[in-house]
Symmetry: C2
Subunit: 225 residues, 2 copies
């Protein structure tokens, strides 16, 4: 859907809750110098030997031979502090690259939602919420996060998109118990099969950090505010 939006004068918020954007927020908060999103495994491998950590996820699993994938527990202080991580994921990386025309590209997750929304509130540009989805399909958890952002911003922004209206109402249906609501999600079923319930629970925590990763010259770095 993204190609149909005009992003040029907008801030794009990239959303891939399970798990890419949650892990990016956590990794940058934990002192990673930068996270470099790349599209392909080959591109990721081309960074080997220069001291970067190589992270590759496909279909929810770490690709054989890589340091790690996109589990948030791979982005702890011990693992990423002062390191550069080169990351390729199924959906999140693609969403970042589709958004390159935006005035600014930032990374959203429940982990940093209030800091992100406070910052967005201070900007004068339009905001486009880019739900990465799963292999380009609609993803419930990403829509719910978008709805949570719309709820926080609705008094200062006007809503120009049916997707935002729908996301807000969905979030209202779900917010009293997000984990329970998400049990209906096809992604949740898939994640359960991958045995990463701990990751899912981690990614559904609100406001455990105040870092906003921003995309600059091909790298995700900590926004200086």
């Amino acid at each position: 859907m993204l190609p149909f939006y005009n992003l040029e004068n907008s801030i794009a918020v990239i959303i891939d809750i399970f798990r890419a954007t949650s892990s990016i927020c956590y990794g940058i908060h934990n002192g990673a110098k930068a996270i470099i999103p790349v599209s392909t495994i080959v591109e990721c491998l081309s960074f080997s030997g220069n001291g970067s950590l190589l992270a590759a996820e496909r279909d929810g699993k770490v690709v054989d031979g890589f340091d790690f994938g996109n589990s948030p527990f791979s982005y702890t202080v011990e693992k990423v502090k002062d390191k550069t991580v080169v990351l390729t994921t199924t959906n999140g990386t693609r969403a970042i690259q589709l958004s390159q025309d935006a005035k600014k590209v930032v990374i959203g997750s429940f982990l940093n939602i209030s800091s992100l929304c406070d910052w967005l509130d201070q900007q004068e540009d339009s905001v486009v919420l880019v739900c990465a989805g799963w292999k380009a399909n609609f993803s419930l958890e990403d829509a719910l996060f978008a709805g949570a952002v719309v709820e926080k911003l609705q008094d200062t922004f006007s809503i120009h998109d049916d997707g935002a209206v729908a996301a807000l109402d969905l979030y209202k249906c779900a917010k009293s118990d997000l984990p329970k609501y998400l049990e209906k999600s096809s992604h949740s079923e898939r994640l359960k099969n991958l045995n990463i319930g701990k990751d899912v629970a981690f990614c559904l925590q609100f406001d455990v950090l105040d870092t906003i990763p921003v995309y600059e010259e091909g790298r995700l770095v900590k926004m200086e505010r």
Copy 2:
């Protein structure tokens, strides 16, 4: 998004509530021999002179020089009985053509929803609900119709898609007063500017007809049951 679904063994239900699929249901019910969906205005014009009615809508308006567009009030018995209509619309036609790999392609609208769902209930194939949207973006009224279909079919079908889960919950938010809920829709705003409130009200009527249009050899015709 559609290209990511495997349609081969599925029934595709095409949904473009405001107004293409509502008008197609009404026109076929009112005795049109066939409605031929085509992509371009040029293709539509190529049918001129053989007795067909030519219908072309772009950006919600009848294209200059055409018999009519996609207002349901152009598809009355007086206008379409025993006629073939060649129709090109902004979104609906494209959705039909993207769905050509499906085992069967049928047309849905609130006007025929119960007949459609009764028929779907008797089939053994998967059902893919194809929301045409507006220029490939999410459209609230199409999602609500999808939710209404999911509500009717949920006891006999299993749900394999987050979009269906979300559509169902949205429909539950909206169903007590669909017209009021849709006032939040960006499309509703656009339609108001086009001065077609009567069309919108018409398209939100449940079960005023029992015809199911089906796509056969490039033409939409009445399904024989």
